[in-house]
Amino acid sequence: MNHTPGTATAENGGDFDPRQAAALLDQATQHARRTFTPLPPLLFAFRAVVVLVVFGGFWLSVRGQHPYTGHLSGWAVIVAIVLVIINIGLTFGAMGRAGDGVSGPTQRKWGVWKGLMVAAWIIGYAVTAPLYHAGVSHPFWGLYPASAPLLIIGLAGTAVAVAFRYWSLACTCLAIAVVAAAAGFGGPANSWLIMGIGLCAVNLAIAAFTAWRQRRSLVRP
């Protein structure tokens, strides 16, 4: 190790107080964490609202059906489409900003992760088309789209995240799969409500966890 000979200047540490150094280290680390985190806490908080509104809207539109048909009302579908489009836009924007100028093995792994997740989303929801075509019963039609796609996506995400050793992400995906599995027991109408509340709680928990990790001090207890 070739240390540069120091002089008694601030830039060479001469007048640099350890307390100032600790504060600067934490400040720089926290700034870098916020900058490089692909999905910020605020986005997860927004997603918590989105899932509550979308799944809650679906639940409101099917809960009074006698007999149950599973058909969602037009306004609920329109609101869902608009919010999902906004969410996709915000997500890609945040990921693009975080990854700007960053290269290396983790970025390549992220590329693979994104590709696999897009495939899981397509597979999860594409199955609904042949089911609809086959004329499955109304209760089944109400139950499947509410819980099954996110169960598939959650389990696929958990498997890939474990393979990449992204432990926090694996826990998140597993939590989504657990919520989806639990929603299946709620029945055709209530499964939407359970999904909304469950995913809202998961997103709020991730938002809080991400914010805590970003602010955690390296030096101070």
């Binding site: 070739n2 540490g13 280290l25 720089a28 870098a32 692909p38 100028g101 983790t106 990449f164 050793r165």
Partner: protein, 116 residues
Amino acid sequence: MTADELDPLIHAPTRLKIVATLAALPDGDALSFTRLQDMLGLTPGNLIIQLRKLEEADYLASKKTRNGSTQKTTVTLTPEGRAALATYTRALRNLLGDLNAEGRPAENEDTDYAAF
């Protein structure tokens, strides 16, 4: 323990910010020179001088790639650089513990938060 025992290469405001910023990236990932400059708000000349000092100590590695007429420089923290920052952080913690008559056990910075 005294402040003199802190690694003089890291114990300087600009270099500390550089090392802390690069350490927030997952192991092996690199950052472009221009993004690093934007994040730290430094002039190119100042950043080059500080990067050179850290590179001479093997704390970081830089790589130049040419794409047509443009040249891109990326910098990455080496394992030696990460180890030096971990040692520096522990030393700083101990020093502040001595100063405040309290401390806490050493703890490594984990980087998989980037997975979110």
